[in-house]
Symmetry: D3
Subunit: 143 residues, 6 copies
């Protein structure tokens, strides 16, 4: 039992291993701002070495390289993400980014319009899944 406990601690101690500290730190800042620090902290705390390698690449490249670029507002990037994630059929990530979209100032009305546009270009089933996922998020957050 002592061994198991020790093992758990080791698991929690997985450390980030950025290739580029500056990019990583900038990424972490915008990631916290969009997804919420509580969510991100939780993902990081629960990550063993295996999961941490995903945390590294997503923090450094997805957030540090792309989201920090000044060419589009965070709100616009959220809009694009809702459209892409609905098209790609990635439910759990779509849910995450509906939360991020609300944090970035999108209204329920705007999200509705995005998923109507999805109905036309990706088809009715893609739209249904997106509407249902958003509906669940709105209920959780009382929006």
């Amino acid at each position: 039992m002592a061994k198991a406990a020790a093992k758990k601690v080791t698991t929690k101690k997985a450390k980030a291993n950025p290739r580029n500290k500056k990019l990583y730190d900038e990424g972490m800042k915008v990631r916290n701002a969009v997804l919420g620090a509580a969510y991100v902290d939780n993902s990081m705390a629960g990550a063993d070495d295996f999961m941490m390698s995903f945390q590294d690449i997503t923090t450094e490249y997805c957030w540090g390289y792309a989201w920090t670029r000044p060419g589009l507002s965070k709100k616009t990037r959220s809009m694009l993400n809702l459209a892409m994630l609905a098209a790609l059929n990635r439910g759990p990530e779509l849910k995450l980014h509906i939360n991020g979209a609300l944090n970035n100032g999108l209204t329920k009305e705007e999200i509705k319009e995005i998923f109507i546009q999805v109905a036309i270009y990706c088809g009715i089933p893609a739209s249904l899944d997106a509407f249902k996922t958003a509906s669940g998020v709105f209920k959780e957050r009382g929006v």
Copy 2:
């Protein structure tokens, strides 16, 4: 030869057959504004009965029902389309909507940022295809 000519005329005479005249007319207006009347006229003129059934549904439903909605600007709908069409791997429609995006006021810089976001969320190959398609359009239009 007279017969062939006659046949050609018949082909050109395929008529729109909207279920909802009002939506169809509103759709045609926004479609012309986004894609350019010359392009749309050409698509309509070349359509036989078979192709006209596609023209009908896209004008009425895609353009009349969705694009006319006031909840998002045409510029924002164009942005969403570039993201979705890159994700869906639909090259010819992507090309069409890069033209539409320029008509709706998107800059080359904004299109670049959209396709960087595509690289992260849809992968490098989706992004490469999108960059190349856009590059071709910019050359054609001298942008």
Copy 3:
């Protein structure tokens, strides 16, 4: 608390907002016939303004515009849907339309053959998901 209750009632009172009443009504009729009035009533009753915008577009365009067309039987449209939804990897909508397919007269044997065709053209994993989903529906309905 009185306020919360009032809010709930408002939520339930979300009303359909068809662009074309005739298309919408025809759509609702065929939708009820294929998916079952109980299922549809339940979807409508649970819809707030946000979800109702999806109900509107699907009733009017998916059901009213496409399913009412005389060119293919409802049974054939169900067959196409099973093939498309398996290809598109849309599990919840596939489940819905396996129910619809049974309502439209497809036999278990025919559904089996459709998903064998899916195995060849969409791959073994698409086929496995479809077989499992159908198997669940058959159990629920005692088919």
Copy 4:
């Protein structure tokens, strides 16, 4: 030059290598019936060892195992294929199977309806690609 000629002959001599001779022969029969013997002969004659391994698996498994099954008519299998190939975004194979569909007795009207159904469930861009591909086939065959 003699060497090059010899090489060419070797290339043409690639032989089918079925795992199940009976399935292979039944498959070849239905494949010829659906796609036309001229097309199939041409594919086989042009195949070197590399391409022949694809010819083997498609003849035996796709045509011999699936298309020969009595549970669905060849016409129905063609319908499913048009829907799946449009959903999967596989243009060249879609073109091939529009030809097959015409050989199996589908009318231009039925193909039109299939691709309207595609517009709703897979989105407008999938439908546009399918309509255009079919339109090209109709022109080639004078349908």
Copy 5:
């Protein structure tokens, strides 16, 4: 109640119906080796006639035709499967083949690298789903 019991027994008695006994038997052997006999026995025992038609095609073609080929090691085929199933967004089959990959000798490190490659070519959301699925399997097996 006696009837229900009888029905259950009939359901369990669904029998494999291979087109090619040799291919089927070779397929079953490699399937057992990769996925584990316990898992396969369980799938077979639970299969009624409907599900058995999937078991037949997968055992005979997926396992008998492809996995038995000497041109690639089983370990390499597992690697390809992880990459394809992540790209195709087929979660349940991905989970199955992460188990198969471990049985075929892939290390946690190698699986990590495969899913980093997925992040680049299929996008961050595909990679996240794959990392999470693998993480769940590692926990179940105590890897």
Copy 6:
């Protein structure tokens, strides 16, 4: 005319703008090794500012971050890429990486086996496209 020439020169002078110089340089090295320096030089020389932003992200992130990792050999990464790109239906990038795979030591036999595995898991149309693309590359290179 002098102006046009000047413009051309400007276009060619687009410069790489890496976020992480070390990763970028390492990435360029492995990219040259896999795709061939001639191909890469050509891509870089033809890139204006718009295309250069894609060159930057792919060199730094795809090649510098992922391909340089020691956990998998370049040959194995090529194998995974062929499987993923066939699954994702990305023809031009697939062609590029069939060339890369040959440069990394894959044999024609191994590529054949990869695309047989694709036939089973992604479906016959995905496999046909991959076989045809590879066949074209083999002809170009005289393999």
